[in-house]
Amino acid sequence: MARRMFSAAGDHIESRQPVTVSRYRGFTRVNHWVTAASLIALLLSGLALFHPSLYFLTGLFGGGQATRWLHPFVGVLLFFSFLLLFLQMWRLNLPRPEDRTWVSQIGDVVRGDEEKLPELGKYNAGQKFVFWAMTVLILVLIVTGVMIWEQFFGNLVSIQVRRWAVLIHSVSAVAIILTFILHVYAAFWTRGTLRAMTRGSVTGGWAWRHHRKWLREVAGRREGGPAE
């Protein structure tokens, strides 16, 4: 088969009647859920320290001291877990010309009028946005997080730098939580998406409707390469 442009190496037609398409192998799914679990643990433990009204969340982790030491360790786990996801997904998340059209027709996206939109590869511009936002924010969070990690890096940076680091850390935390909400919402709203990360496959109709270029390539109908 020719070099894949719109799909990852493992993506294949899993069954023909009805059509199901394999989207994520087991490793990627476990990787995704470890990342998700650590993000949720970070969000809860971080928010506990973010605002007095949420301090009660420290109860989930066994108290304030435990929350304080646990949070950064989970942060390191998130960083490496996401790094693995990143290595698997970055190529198909690079921007493409059709992303621009997709964004300019965001109204059609929200109305679900997908027949008016260009055909897409494995990811649409919204998914790519979430991917790159997570990438940048996790980088910022790990760097600033280490700078304010009193237990091991208390003397790493000056107090003035530390003030900026904690400010940037909390602003980025808010941003990543908003991104996370968008991500979860989109996965629910676009029915049939969740099974890609649970069972690993999607229905043919889902692929046809949302990621047609990806489906065409996976179905092996476009061996001569894409139209572009």
């Binding site: 007095p52 304030g64 001291q65 304080r68 030491w69 009193e150 909400i181 043919g204």
Partner: protein, 331 residues
């Protein structure tokens, strides 16, 4: 002078303890601020504000105060190496709440060599940055007499107080992960005693009493210094942090930085204000709106569903009966 047990705050540090048992008089009703506690009930009474005055011009650098501090607080600062200066330990530590800092200054006006010795430690700011930054409810409190105190059972060891303090005072212990600093001997003051350092000071460079008395005393000291040729003598009671309950008389009040980097115009950093202020309010609001909004939107609007038609098309595609490409994609 003796200590009157009926007074709400001690008036001096030099008197000896009363022989009759004394009730501790710093209680929950005396709190005017408590970290991460926006709905703190108002104090039940107003104690007379106290202060410790450090007259740098009278200090002989004997470190009696430092010893008294370790003695009273039962801390055991590590014995460090001598690196050729008198400072020992080399910095404030979780076990050393006060530190004599020595700087050598050649006065360009007089050509004199001056040894400027400053007792460093918590200033007990009226507007404490440490307390503002602290995320743990009740880990840092401020009493109506002005003392800012760390309450260890509530501390989580995050180090935010280090970030908030304009004077680089709090230190976090590597063993118990709690924050430590000068308490202004709140446990002594509560029973009518002045701080251990002030009591130990042989020259009375450190004196303790009501803030009012201490300011009046400081004025007389400044006057005396001016009469001796220190034209720039003055009081260092930083208004940027609302004034402090530990303050200095300096011979060169125009150049506080000479005294081992005492900040010129200390105030809570605007970065800290921005972090604890708008960031929290806007951030929480944005997260709340996004979370509630997406749930409501999810309930009230039509989801994006795959149709039977989509499935048929996919089947045809996979079977090789490929439907036509949409024109837009033929770029």
């Amino acid at each position: 002078m003796t200590t009157d047990p009926n007074l709400d705050s001690p008036r001096t540090a030099v008197s000896n303890p009363p022989v009759q048992p004394t009730r501790a008089n710093l209680g929950p009703g005396d709190l005017i601020r408590s970290s991460a506690t926006p709905d703190l009930p108002p104090p039940t009474r107003q104690l007379t504000p106290v202060a410790k005055l450090i007259d740098v011009s009278k200090c002989i650098g004997c470190k009696a105060c430092q010893s008294a501090c370790a003695e009273w607080n039962d801390t055991y600062p590590e014995v460090e190496e001598n690196v050729g200066i008198y400072e020992n330990p080399h910095d404030l530590t979780p076990d050393m709440f006060t530190l004599m800092r020595f700087s050598e200054y050649e006065n360009p006006q007089t050509g004199d060599f001056e040894w400027l010795i400053r007792k460093d430690g918590c200033m007990h700011c009226a507007d404490p940055g440490c307390l503002k930054a602290c995320p743990a409810p009740g880990a840092i409190v401020q009493y109506s007499n002005g003392i800012v105190d760390f309450i260890h059972e509530n501390c989580i060891g995050c180090g935010y107080c280090v970030t908030g303090c304009p004077f680089d005072i709090p230190r976090i212990s590597k063993t118990d992960h709690l924050a430590y600093k000068c308490t202004l001997c709140s446990d002594r003051v509560a029973v009518g005693q002045g701080p251990a350092c002030a009591k130990a000071c042989p020259t009375q460079a450190i004196v303790f009493g009501t803030k009012e008395d201490m300011l009046a005393h400081a004025e007389t000291r400044v006057e005396d210094l001016k009469s001796r040729g220190y034209d720039n003598a003055g009081i260092y009671d930083p208004q940027g942090v609302g004034g402090a309950h530990v303050f200095y008389v300096l011979h060169h009040a125009d150049q506080p930085a000479l005294y081992s980097g005492l900040p010129e115009e200390p105030r809570i950093s605007s970065v800290v204000e921005g972090w604890k202020g708008p960031t929290k309010a806007l951030g929480l609001a944005a997260i709340g709106v996004a979370a509630v909004g997406s749930v409501l939107h999810g309930l009230m609007t039509r989801a994006n569903k795959v149709s039977a038609e989509d499935e048929t098309q996919a089947e045809q595609l996979v079977e090789g009966r490929e439907p036509p490409l949409r024109p837009e994609t033929e770029v």
